[in-house]
Symmetry: C2
Subunit: 452 residues, 2 copies
């Protein structure tokens, strides 16, 4: 008889991790604060569409559920930039066969819960709010809607209960628990571009659309029903801000000034803007992630990040891949697995948190900057010429399994490289040169010496 395992949280990471554990033969009980999302129906308004990339797909494949989920995912091969005058510029994310995939958070979550329950025998307990934990006894205390209190113990407990994790709140009170929650000055609001009258996509459906406007931006991701889910990222306060978008006139005037080409595609703009909540953007870091080698936080519970690298779900799913790899390596010795995961994964989570904040600046601001675009082009050219020696940062994060912390360090090194390259006189006109290659090769040598 294998150990009993509890997962707190039936979100994306919790339900996927339940599948992994059930496949290894464990009795898995998943407790979830919310009602069963399969019965309650989809609740919109706060769900930035997800961009699944290779780290996410790898976890789904390892869990044996990739094929079932691929059919509802829409490939986005690059960014489509919308200028203020409506000019479009397409910027591929990677090579021609590489894409990130737009998926619906609600749809994916429902599918994972169904697979876990129907095919893997996982027990889901909805409407169970975790209100307390006995960390020494490895016990969770749940409150039910009728007011009853239920206590449950297990050999191992995984906290997959999100950015506002109840388990983490309990751990935060223990000695020497490092913790930070840090909010951006920006909030976000979901809006919609529906399918056209002919039932078609209103814009190109193979791209993630961005209206970069310096301190704020609008993005749009395609859905299988041929609509786009749009998200406006805007400061809470200041000249252009949610605070200053109160009246219909203010909202109209703001959108007509900055997102002119999108306005005709958004028939319910005013209603959506007023009905949908303005949500905040938090980065959560903590250390340790585990207690007594028997309780472990995963996903947003230990490393919630801002959505600008599309790596929130991907990094949570990668937690599952790595834990499952460790289960193999250490023969399912979970004490050891939890200890090793805690010691090695935190650095990567901190790196993707930093990268995600950095990418916000890139998305809202730099994607319209000629020097930035030139750098992108030179990077793609170098990658083409030296595929084994140069992988652009975006590709490392999105299209590889290189640890995030390695990608972040390599990204800093690449900044140094491009500082040299972009300082060359006349680089704007002529960059496929021997001089650029010489700088690149010198940089490579220095880097390998430094690592050597």
């Amino acid at each position: 008889m294998k150990d009993k395992i509890i997962i707190n949280g039936a979100g994306l990471v919790g339900s996927l991790w339940a599948v992994f554990l059930a496949r290894r033969g464990y009795q898995v009980d998943v407790y979830e604060r919310r009602s069963d999302m399969r019965k309650a129906g989809f609740v919109g308004g706060r769900s930035i569409n997800l961009a699944m990339s290779v780290r996410g797909w790898k976890a789904l494949e390892k869990a044996g559920v990739k094929d079932q989920l691929l059919s509802n995912a829409l490939p986005m091969e690059g960014r489509m930039m919308h200028s203020e005058t409506g000019e479009l510029t397409f910027q591929p994310y990677g090579k021609s066969d590489q894409a990130i995939y737009s998926v619906s958070r609600g749809g994916l979550n429902r599918a994972l819960v169904e697979i876990a329950e129907d095919f893997e025998g996982v027990n889901f307990h909805f409407d169970h709010r975790c209100v307390d934990a006995d960390l020494d006894e490895n016990e969770l205390v749940f409150s039910l809607p009728d007011g009853t209190i239920k206590k449950e113990r297990a050999s191992y407990i995984f906290g997959a209960d999100g950015a506002f994790s109840a388990l983490r709140s309990e751990m935060q009170r223990t000695p020497r628990f490092n913790y930070s929650q840090s909010y951006l000055d920006h909030g976000y609001k979901e809006l919609e571009i529906p399918a056209t009258a002919d039932g078609e996509f209103a814009m190109a459906d193979n791209a993630l659309h961005i209206w970069p406007r310096g301190h704020f931006m609008l993005i749009a991701l395609p859905n299988p029903d041929k609509s786009f889910t749009c998200t406006l990222f805007l400061p809470f306060e200041g000249e252009q801000s949610f605070e200053n978008l109160q009246t219909d006139d203010q909202i109209h005037s703001f959108f007509n000034t900055y997102f002119k080409d999108a306005v005709p595609l958004m028939p319910t703009l005013l209603e959506d803007f007023k009905d949908n909540p303005t949500s905040s953007l938090v980065t959560i870091r903590c250390n340790p992630w585990q207690m007594n080698n028997r309780m472990l936080l995963i996903g947003d519970a230990s490393h919630a990040i801002v959505p600008f690298y599309g790596q929130g779900m991907n990094s949570g799913f990668e937690d599952c891949t790595i834990l499952d790899d460790l289960a193999e390596e250490y023969g399912e010795d979970w004490n050891k697995i939890i200890d090793v995961f805690n010691d090695t994964r935190i650095e990567d989570a901190n790196a993707i948190a930093d990268l995600a904040i950095r990418n916000f600046i890139e998305m809202r601001d730099l994607v319209g900057d000629p020097e930035f675009l030139l750098r992108k082009k030179i990077a793609a050219w170098l990658h083409d010429k030296f595929p084994d020696k140069f992988l652009p940062l975006y590709s490392m994060v999105t299209f590889s399994h290189i640890p995030y912390s390695t990608a972040l360090r390599e990204g800093h090194a690449q900044d140094e490289l491009f500082k040299q390259i972009l300082a060359l006189p006349g680089i704007e006109e002529n960059w496929k040169t021997d001089e650029v290659i010489a700088i690149f090769e010198n940089w490579l040598t220095q880097k390998s010496n430094a690592n050597g």
Copy 2:
């Protein structure tokens, strides 16, 4: 009739702030989780002695209680460094008339509560543990030892309830509340050097004694009863660590190796080491500090720092000075005062938090470093020669009322200055030179140009 004001926490900052408010004619109720410290007797073992400097004295003076408290404070004019071979080096903190003062936390706290209650009519409510808060109603909920629950409202509430503030916990759940708690890898343990058999101090009593040993250190501060309170700062884990000091032999051998001259002065070393707890060292930052301009965190509740600059209490007391100055400036419009304080003080709290961590490295490591000592000497000489133009960082923090954030910026600028000065050939032998003065004057000019 003036507003009713609640202070949560009867610690140093809470009881001093109560005196300030009572003097302005407010009805002040102070609630405190612990029992009355005047009845419970002094609880030792976790109370690093406090080093009062000018920021603390100014607040006490403004509150009209300085003279009563000065008699129990012992001046320390500098650091007395103890080398491994028992060699002593004295390093003055400032000019010959400047000192920091060793005071007992417990004694100071009792005195402030007595003054507030007996002379200012403040109502103290001990054994009241704040368990909840209604931020919209400006209401606190207290639990009493007999299990009863009491709710109290006030026009304004000040949270002076320390590093593990209950009020802050409630605020932390509100949207966009930035918060971090960060622990050092070092812990601390209190030890004692009693008075000699003749009833005298066992070492010089006009100094803060330091045994700097690189990654760890021992310090000692004098007490009015001619004993010294010692504190050992040591990593929790690693080669030299609390983890590796378990047996009597290990403890003896460690102290005999590193603190040989102190051992004969510590007759109860083993008992103290085993009986006293090992405590941790946390830095707390948050933003905002206020809710609805009616509730405000002060002292450790909003800005707990590590003790290595001796500014924890001083910065909390300075909160009171600044709030009282703002009360004057804004005619006791507390909505405005709380708003302005929140907008201006957080930067200074972050600066002293950084400086305190930086000073730990200085105390445990650099104070034994010849280059560091040379820099100190040159800094003192420059200050002597140009008293209006050059104030060493330590003096800005300890002997001035310059905002901490200004001191931190100036400290960075001084690092640049000394990088240039210490790079001069032969500087060790000869530093009272025209060349040093030329570098200094050039640095001054550049700084004043940069500040525009």
